[in-house]
């Protein structure tokens, strides 16, 4: 049953991620997506791709001993690798120590929190029968027994067996999750597995063969994770990745260690890169003030 359900679930999820923005369908109702307001700026940035991109406006500029890393900005316009710019990457996100233990704890959490153990065994009390003493206590020459459902018996109940559906859900520390993202991003960049593109709008064809040729030419491997700022994608890349195992589209808020390790290559847009860095750097600098409103409780109404 679960084998039947899971592909259906997966298809709904991918559908949600790959919502096609089609102006022919009419105006999108307001409040449909909270990130809708970011479309015009993104379109403008994708249109103005003359000249090299070399500068970043950081809210938290890098300070310290570690120099910032650099990455080429590519374009999806042609099959051949066409460089559009050179972008510096923040060293606190992309030059961290690739902590294998932190990555492992993240992966363990991601596999465990959705795991439910359904194994179950009945005790002697839950099995039918067994109330009668099978034979008298004495004078039969046999071992003394009080119930045929005793755990000593074959076909008897299970003593201290697995009990019912058991959840392995737990919340992982947010600090460790941030550390895990930084560790995986740094490791991926060091392995030359992160590619930054100007925008997904620049993909000219919706034919999956074009994307196949592009990934083969650029040596991106068999599985690619495309991450964008928003949770709806341009039409061409949505159709090119539709029902293609290994090619996944993902918004920034879905970025996680497991998916990044599962896919060979991580492709980020410039908007996604900005958002990831801003989110992680702000999170690492956030003030750990305990809000006084957390302690207040609504007054209990006496009836």
């Amino acid at each position: 049953m679960f084998g039947l359900i899971s592909p259906l679930l997966r298809s709904t999820v991918t559908k949600q991620w790959t919502k096609v923005l089609n102006p022919a369908q009419g105006p999108i109702p307001s409040g449909f997506l909270s990130s809708l307001g970011t479309i015009p700026s993104r379109l403008q940035s994708s249109e103005s791709k003359t000249g090299l991109i070399t500068e970043r406006n950081y809210r938290f500029p890098p300070s310290g001993f570690v120099p910032s890393r650099e990455a080429w900005v590519e374009s999806l316009e042609t099959i051949e690798d066409k460089k559009v710019g050179l972008v510096p990457l923040h060293p606190e996100v992309f030059a961290e120590f690739p902590r294998i233990d932190v990555i492992h704890t993240n992966i363990k959490w991601q596999t465990l929190y959705k795991h439910v153990d359904y194994s179950f065994a009945r005790t002697r009390a839950e099995m039918p029968g067994g109330g009668r003493k099978p034979w008298p206590q004495k004078k039969s020459g046999r071992a003394r027994h009080g119930s045929i459902r005793s755990p000593l018996w074959k076909g008897g109940g299970k003593a201290k067996g697995p009990r019912g559906p058991k959840t392995y859900f737990y919340l992982f520390h947010a600090d460790m999750r941030s550390k895990g993202l930084k560790a995986v991003l740094s490791a991926k960049l060091a392995q030359d597995d992160i590619h930054i593109v100007d925008s997904f709008e620049s993909l000219p064809s919706e034919d999956p063969k074009f994307l196949d040729a592009l990934t083969a030419k650029r040596n991106w491997g068999l599985s690619v994770l495309f991450v964008d700022d928003t949770d709806f994608m341009p039409k061409n890349i949505a159709l090119a990745c539709h029902r293609r195992p290994g090619f996944t589209l993902m918004p920034v808020y879905g970025l996680n260690c497991y998916s990044m390790l599962k896919h060979e290559t991580l492709v980020l847009t410039l908007a996604a890169l900005n958002k990831i860095e801003e989110r992680i750097l702000t999170f690492d600098r956030r003030l750990k003030i305990r809000d006084f409103r957390d302690n207040t409780r609504p007054p209990v109404k006496k009836i």
């Binding site: 300070s63 001993f65 120590f97 902590r99 702000t282 600098r285 003030l287 109404k301 009836i303």
Partner: protein, 177 residues
């Protein structure tokens, strides 16, 4: 055991009487009909401009940046000194904490609370050279001219056995960190 059993029995006996004293855990909502329904519905205007007054009450997410113009005389009354704009030519660097303080912390071991450790975080660059310089700085201040240290190269931390908080802070400020 016997006492527990008896209490359980007595509670079960009394249970019908408990029904009278049962608490209502959900509020009983009485449907009140308004006297004049025309006057009850007051028109409400949603104003996005007034949200700035709410934002004043919200706590800040990150600490504000270090003021350059307003605070020129250091140290401040609290004793805080900012990092020097241009650091020394040392092959290492020590960052500041998220509230622009020195990343020097004290660890006290439980349960005796007698073992004390001084920890320096956020050490970048050549951490081994940093440890050597730190030991040279602390040696005259230690009891027997021996400073026991631990270096975690992965976590970028140095730990010293003993309470050297003030001496380490002096060391860092002198280097401009």
């Amino acid at each position: 055991m016997d006492l527990l059993f008896r209490t359980a029995q007595s509670r079960s006996r009394v249970s019908p009487a408990f029904g009278l004293l049962r608490r209502h855990y959900w509020p009983v909502v009485e449907e009140k009909k308004p006297v004049n329904p025309e006057h009850t519905y007051i028109p409400v205007v949603e104003s996005a401009e007034d949200f700035k007054y709410v934002q004043k009450l919200l706590p800040p997410i990150v600490a504000p940046p270090v003021p350059v113009q307003s605070l020129m005389n250091y140290p401040t009354p609290s004793g805080w000194i900012p990092a020097a704009p241009a650091n020394s030519n040392a092959p290492y660097f020590v960052g500041r904490s998220r509230i622009h303080g020195l990343p020097v912390y004290m660890e006290v071991e439980k349960p005796s609370y007698t073992k004390k450790f001084t920890k320096i975080k956020k050490v970048q660059g050549d951490i081994w050279q940093f440890e050597k310089d730190l030991i040279d700085w602390l040696r005259p201040h230690s009891f027997d001219a021996l400073v026991a240290t631990q270096v975690s190269e992965v976590n970028r931390e140095v730990r010293i056995k003993g309470d050297y908080m003030e001496h380490v802070k002096q060391f860092l400020l002198e280097r401009g960190f």
